[in-house]
């Protein structure tokens, strides 16, 4: 750290996986970059998620961002440190019935059209791929190149790369106020920055007014080690409905094998939760759902359960680009449950736009200004 530094091209507030990736990309682009966190890289919501690198097809914009992100992850997979635990285990989207199997057939055509490897498994093939699943399932869509990582280690890796590229790290320093061109820290110091990128997850709401950002709480459980019992990231196709179609509390079967044999069990969604306490009835509901697909989970030794507050937007797309408040204050947040996947393309979009370069994917769908009219209305 260079305490004398008081000016920079870009200051990034929040060293989660998004902010750290943005710092790496900005520093690599030659920008004089400062990465700020009240704590340390990857210690916030980044450490609460599953770490699933997944292509999602809710919308064309979500597809573009997740597919580009996964491509960037795949390109650098071989050079990632071992502690990131990159494991290209693939995703099995499980069809519980005939109707969901019809959806699988529609999805596979779309994936292939975009050159994403995808394969339909029938009931018997699914049973061979995951012998512990109940037998009465209709089949699955196997997305081969989806992967799993340990997110906090990735955030630390990106931050360390940024530092190697010349970025200045200001960790353990809490931001009090942001105004165009200047950041005031709680300790009385300040930093002048031509551009400020707020990547602080839900805490961004404390720094900027009227952000279209809500909390969406999720629960996770991790088991002891049961190597080989789960081989792919397993998600019920019904997840797409429960995760995205409704404001009501919901759970879905979403289970992940960790490289050491531990099993992560999810998932739940609750809008506008105000605290991170475990909701025991919802947690029980979530675990019953998981046991309904993988009966052996009933007997596994559970080590820990926790919650996290995902920063969510109304349209399910993140906020990437200049804020509605001021052209020099940018946002990189609102990724809800896809921040781990989309950190790479988010960073690429932020750096390309700050540097005035061509973006790999169209940036406009993620611009925060898409909500500008309603936030203005809310102020008035």
């Amino acid at each position: 750290m260079n305490p004398a530094l008081t000016r920079c091209d870009v200051a990034i507030v929040g060293a989660g996986i998004i902010g750290s990736a943005c710092a790496e990309a900005c520093a690599a682009g030659g920008l004089n970059t400062v990465l700020i966190d009240s704590d340390f890289p990857g210690g916030g919501i980044t450490a609460c998620g599953m770490g699933h690198i997944v292509v999602m097809d809710d919308s064309a914009a979500q597809w573009a961002l997740t597919a580009r992100s996964r491509e960037l992850w795949m390109r650098r997979a071989a050079s990632l440190p071992d502690d990131i635990e990159y494991d290209a285990c693939g995703t099995l989207w499980i069809a519980a019935n005939r109707a969901e199997m019809d959806a699988v057939e529609e999805k596979v055509a779309m994936y292939r059209q975009h050159d994403v490897h995808a394969q339909i498994l029938n009931s018997a093939e699914l049973a061979r791929a995951e012998p512990d699943l109940i037998s009465r399932l209709s089949g699955a869509l196997l997305v081969r190149d989806d992967a799993v990582i340990y997110p906090p280690a990735a955030a630390q890796h990106f931050a360390a790369n940024a530092a190697t590229l010349g970025a200045v790290m200001r960790f353990g320093q809490r931001v009090q106020v942001i105004e165009p061109g200047r950041i005031y820290f709680v300790d009385g110091t300040m930093l002048d920055a031509e551009r400020i990128v707020v990547a602080a997850g839900l805490a961004s709401n404390d720094l900027l007014p009227n952000l279209p950002l809500r909390a969406r709480k999720g629960h996770l459980v991790i088991s002891d080690r049961y190597p080989g019992r789960v081989r792919h990231q397993l998600v019920e196709l019904g997840y797409l409905h429960s995760a995205h179609a409704s404001d009501a509390d919901s759970v879905a079967f979403n289970v992940q094998p960790r490289r050491n044999g531990q099993i992560l069990i999810g998932s739940s969604r609750q809008f506008d939760a105000t605290d991170t306490a475990i909701d025991a009835p919802l947690l029980a509901h979530m675990l019953e759902r998981a046991v309904g697909f993988l009966p052996f989970l009933r007997d596994v030794q559970v080590l820990r359960s926790w919650t996290g507050l995902r920063p969510a937007t109304r349209d399910g797309l993140p906020l990437i680009g200049p804020s509605a408040q001021h052209a020099s204050i940018w946002l990189a947040t609102g990724h809800e449950g896809l921040g781990i996947t989309t950190a790479t393309a988010t960073a690429e979009l932020i750096a390309a736009q700050l540097l005035g370069r061509t973006c790999a994917i169209p940036p406009a769908p993620y611009w925060p200004t898409r909500f500008a009219s309603e936030t203005t209305h809310a102020v008035a």
Binding site: D224, R225, Y226, P227, N260, D299, V300, Q301
Partner: protein
């Protein structure tokens, strides 16, 4: 005073005679096994707290993974497998 009752259990397929109501941890140590699990980083593990708190002494008993050896009493014919998760 009654003489102790001996039972037979199997540790990694080998038969051992021991006093009924010994803990599995005691049986393992009595069999000369000084560690029966490895941590994620490869370090040897055995009973540490001996009272069911630390979970370091986990072992597979009759097909059930992650049983605490210090908390389970030996029963006739019990099959204990070490060094599996």
């Amino acid at each position: 005073m009654r003489s102790p009752e001996y039972i037979e259990i199997f540790i990694d397929g080998r038969a051992y005679l021991l006093i009924r109501n010994s803990t599995v941890a005691a049986a393992l140590l009595n069999a000369g096994i000084t560690h029966w699990r490895r941590s994620v980083s490869g370090q040897p593990r055995a009973a540490l707290c001996g009272m069911g708190v630390c979970f370091e002494c986990r072992v597979n008993i009759d097909g059930h993974a992650h049983q605490r050896a210090c908390q389970v009493l030996c029963t006739p014919g019990m099959r204990v497998i070490t060094h599996v998760e």
